[in-house]
């Protein structure tokens, strides 16, 4: 973190913020690797590799065909270059597309049968794979009642899922939570019905690549009227060298259901950059609600920008039913390059989409991230709050789209994106697209700290604060709210981040 130590920090940026950013970026705690015998598919990408991945996952013929179709399309596509990220050209033939621990060749029946080395990996990361109530590393959780803190975890190690906890409890509630490879075998009708309906096969270059070669990921189905009894979580770990991870997650919240889903990810320190191209699809039916929280902590590369994960992610939620709701919360601290736009298609009337993001880039990290809110239904609402913090030589871009279609009568959007620069060598950028196609829709895009809630401001000022103090308090309060709204799983990360204030930020 030399970059921060040597850079002049301008007046007005408080020391706690600088320290917190330094803390987040200084030592990558998850940079160790697990020494384990692996089985690889041959390097490179061909029709045969796609078939091989499908075969390894014991997939039915229709799935193999789906993948091959995607691969053929991908071959005709051009790698996009519009994002404000700059990285050496990726050699897609110099990657492994499938890697699994040898001990996983015969799929264990339960987590008890999984190689202890693998289990130890997750233990070291603080991820509870035993069906225990206590979250590792969270203070005070020991005394918490077991019922209150249950989190079901699906652990994905390189290309395979090791297993999923609390399956019995979930089954009792009717919730399906398993790896996507299991779901393709066990619930083909559900997968067939929904896979690729939110992010079509040819949506974009990386999504198409993912469709061809995705190896594992999670599948969630919450039946009508069910409130999922515990948080669901997937933890992605890249371990093998020169190996891309292509996860695929599909979440379906049927009518009137609710689910909160968490995602975490880490990778070892390697000199070579590694590829991660994920697709997440969420379907939200009438009156259903999905909360999707991510703490993205891939290896960001070293101080000189060597190594790190290239994170090309397509995440999209389709609010199909009336009054459906989706909330994306993301804390982006890792990855050398991030290209990620969790989006909401607000199709149902009165549906709502929310996007809360804190992206911290340091050293040579580059993040181009944001959201798309597509308002199609009447009275749809969306809110975007994005905080970007840049230090060292990092570049941090907010890119977003708010689109109000002609039929989205009385739709509302509020967008606020703030950025903070620490040091004079980094950059912060905002590229919002706004398309308002009917007059009853109201779009407000603000990138100033002066446009916080007037009532709160007035209240603070009536108590004797000056305007600046009042704004700082309200903005900070809001930032903390987002972080505190993160589920307990992420309490550790969140605690580090709450010290960050946005005083002295630029729009």
């Amino acid at each position: 973190m030399t970059a921060l130590d040597h850079s002049q920090v301008k007046e007005g940026v408080d020391q706690d913020t600088v320290d917190a950013v330094r803390e987040v970026g200084s030592t990558y705690k998850h940079g160790w690797s697990t020494d384990i015998e692996m089985e690889y598919a041959p390097k490179g990408l061909t029709h045969d590799i796609v078939r091989l991945i499908s075969e390894k996952n014991e997939e039915p013929e229709w799935m193999t065909e789906w993948r091959l179709g995607a691969y053929d399309r991908w071959l005709k596509m051009v790698e996009p270059d519009w994002a404000m990220v700059d990285y050496p050209k990726i050699d897609f033939q110099d990657q492994y597309y499938y890697a699994r621990p040898k001990s996983m060749m015969v799929k264990p029946k339960s987590l008890d049968e999984v190689d202890p080395k693998l289990l130890a990996t997750y233990e070291k990361l603080g991820i509870p794979l035993r069906e225990q109530a206590i979250l590792a590393g969270v203070e005070g959780a020991e005394g918490a009642p077991a019922e209150g803190r249950k989190v079901a975890v699906d652990a994905v190690f390189d290309s395979v899922s090791l297993g999923t906890t609390f399956q019995d409890d979930l089954k009792k509630a009717g919730v399906i939570f398993c790896s996507i490879s299991d779901a393709i075998r066990d619930y083909p009708d559900l997968v067939k019905k929904y896979l690729g309906t939110v992010v079509p096969v040819s949506d974009n270059y990386y999504a198409t690549l993912n469709s061809a070669v995705f190896s594992d990921g999670s599948f969630v189905y919450v039946p009508p009227g069910v409130r999922c009894p515990m948080e669901l979580s997937t933890y992605f770990r890249i371990n093998a060298e020169n190996t891309g991870q292509f996860e695929r997650t599909l979440i379906i919240a049927d009518k009137g259901s609710y689910v909160s889903y968490l995602e975490g990810c880490t990778a070892p320190k390697r000199d070579e950059a590694q590829l991660h191209a994920a697709v997440v699809e969420i379907i939200v039916e009438e009156d259903a609600e999905v909360k999707y929280s991510t703490v993205q902590n891939w290896y960001p590369g070293d101080e000189d920008g060597k190594g790190g994960i290239y994170n090309f992610v397509t995440k999209r939620a389709d609010c199909r039913g009336d009054r459906s709701k989706v909330m994306w919360t993301q804390v982006e601290t890792g990855a050398a390059v991030t290209w990620k736009y969790p989006s909401c298609i607000l199709r149902g009337d009165d549906s709502q989409g929310e996007f809360y993001s804190i992206a911290i880039t340091n050293n040579w990290q580059q993040a181009d991230t944001g959201t798309k809110m597509i308002h199609l239904g009447k009275n749809t609402k969306s809110r975007i709050v994005s905080k970007g913090i840049s230090a060292g030589q990092a570049q941090n871009t907010y890119r977003g789209l708010v689109s109000m279609h002609p039929k989205a009568k009385n739709a509302r959007n509020f967008t606020q994106c703030d950025s903070l620069l620490i040091g004079s060598k980094c950059g912060a950028h905002a590229i919002p697209y706004i398309e308002a196609k009917n007059n009853s829709a109201r779009v407000e895009h603000e990138a100033t700290t002066s446009k916080v809630d007037e009532n709160q401001l007035f209240y603070c000022r009536s108590r004797g604060m000056d305007e600046e103090e009042a704004v700082a308090l309200v903005v900070n309060g809001f930032c903390k709210d987002v972080l505190q709204a993160l589920p307990m799983e992420f309490a550790m990360e969140a605690q580090q981040l709450v010290a960050i204030s946005l005083e002295g930020s630029v729009g």
Partner: protein, 426 residues
């Protein structure tokens, strides 16, 4: 990289219909500009920079026919003492123009000075346009540099006693004029430039403005209210230390208008304000594309754009503030707002910030919506008829942009035009 075939063909077709003025000091600059057009090709709807505005009518070999509007509304700025330079369909009208002599300024015409071997404008002609071709190509501006046969060449050395007013009349239904103006404001000098009129069926105009340290330029224009005309205009400005450039544009009607302004703040403590008020009804697309580069300390930039849209009118705003590394203490502000008077209109915007310096204050705001029901109700409860109340609120909405005009008398003239538009609805 080779151009896509379709773009190459479109570009060649357009170029074949034009002839490049030969000889004199400007020819090398014109040839270089032509090369720029050939290498980037003319814009089409696949270009990201033309995402919201289809450039077809601006690019085709012939100008789509457009009738000149007959109106009994008096000419804008008529009540002001000014030096008039008149172009009819792009052709200089000596009879209607004043004598081009005024203390503190030299005014010449590009066509007249063209065959000289050397002229001060040589250092500027095409230079600022070329600088503005990165990071985004602006081929229609390069096309103008290559082919514009005339324009005014102004060098401000003092503080002229009255504004210089360029008037553009439109008569012929198929006129396709191109004008290229070059303006140099010397150190400590100050002038006001007025522009008004539709100029032609399809109008292309470039204005290259170089303001030396401490120089000041005010620019106020009105783009004429012919319904069918189309126009593409570019302002390229470079500002020295402690200089200032304030520009305001009113656009009333017109089938398609694309106004680009590219401003570089190269000296410390410089100030640029760019503002626009546009009102459109029906077949109307108005596009403001602004690119401001801060490359010096303690500069201020301000963009204020207001659009009133009805009956399917489309408003476009693409604004960008680029703060280069080291451009500390920058104060950048950008506001783009649309008021849609009915359900058919559209507002499409891309307000961008790109910042590489940490001690800056940059903000942008972008909103779109309809007339505030509460305010309307309030006015009606005070006895104001509904139509009148809506007009008042619309004018109040536009006022923030009109307020950018420093000269009160001119601002009032502009407001009266906007009021007229509201009362006749077109």
């Amino acid at each position: 990289m080779a151009l896509p075939k379709i773009k190459e063909t479109a570009t060649e077709t357009r170029l074949a219909a034009l002839s490049l003025p030969e000889g004199g000091w400007s020819e090398p600059a014109r040839r270089a500009a032509l090369a720029r057009v050939q290498s980037s090709g003319l814009p089409d709807r696949r270009d990201e920079y033309w995402k919201f505005t289809r450039p077809d009518v601006l690019v085709g070999p012939d100008a789509p026919h457009a009738k000149a509007l007959e109106t009994d509304e008096g000419e804008l700025f008529d009540s002001f003492d000014r030096l008039k330079i008149v172009f009819v369909d792009g052709v200089f009208d000596a009879q209607a123009s004043d004598d081009l002599k005024l203390e503190g300024v030299s005014i010449e015409r590009l066509a007249e000075i063209a065959d000289q071997d050397i002229h001060w404008a040589r250092d500027l002609y095409g230079t600022l346009e070329e600088r503005a071709q990165t990071p985004v190509a602006r081929p229609l501006a390069a096309l103008n540099t290559a082919f514009a046969p005339d324009g005014v060449v102004i060098r401000v050395t003092g503080k002229p006693s009255k504004p210089i007013s360029v008037v553009y009349h439109h008569v012929a239904e198929d006129s396709d004029p191109m004008l290229h103006h070059v303006i140099r404001v010397e150190s400590g000098a100050e002038a006001t430039i007025l522009e008004n009129g539709p100029a032609g069926a399809r109008f292309s105009k470039c204005m290259e403005i170089d303001i030396a340290d401490g120089g000041k330029l005010h620019h106020i224009r009105s783009q004429g209210r012919d319904h069918e005309r189309s126009a593409v205009t570019h302002i390229f400005a470079r500002l020295g230390a402690e200089s200032s450039f304030k520009s305001f544009t009113m656009t009333v009607n017109g089938h398609l208008t694309r106004n680009e302004a590219v401003v570089e703040l190269t000296g410390d403590d410089a100030i640029v304000h760019i503002a626009g008020a546009c009102v459109g009804d029906g077949d109307f697309l108005h596009d403001d594309t602004i690119f401001i580069t801060h490359d010096a300390l303690n500069c201020e930039s301000r963009q204020v754009f207001k659009k009133v849209l009805r009956n399917g009118a489309v408003g476009v705003f693409q604004g960008k503030i680029l703060v280069k590394e080291g451009a500390q203490k920058t104060d950048g502000y950008q506001l783009s707002q649309a008021l849609m008077l009915d359900g058919d209109s559209q507002f499409l915007a891309k307000p961008e910030l790109e910042i590489y310096a940490d001690d800056v204050a940059c903000s942008h705001g972008c909103t779109s919506g309809e007339i505030d029901e509460t305010a309307l109700f309030y006015l009606r409860s005070r006895g104001v008829p509904e139509d009148r109340a809506a007009d008042l609120l619309t004018l109040a909405f536009l006022a923030e942009a009109v307020d950018e005009i420093e000269d009160q008398a001119i601002a009032e003239d502009i407001v009266s035009r906007l009021e007229n538009w509201l009362s006749r609805r077109r």
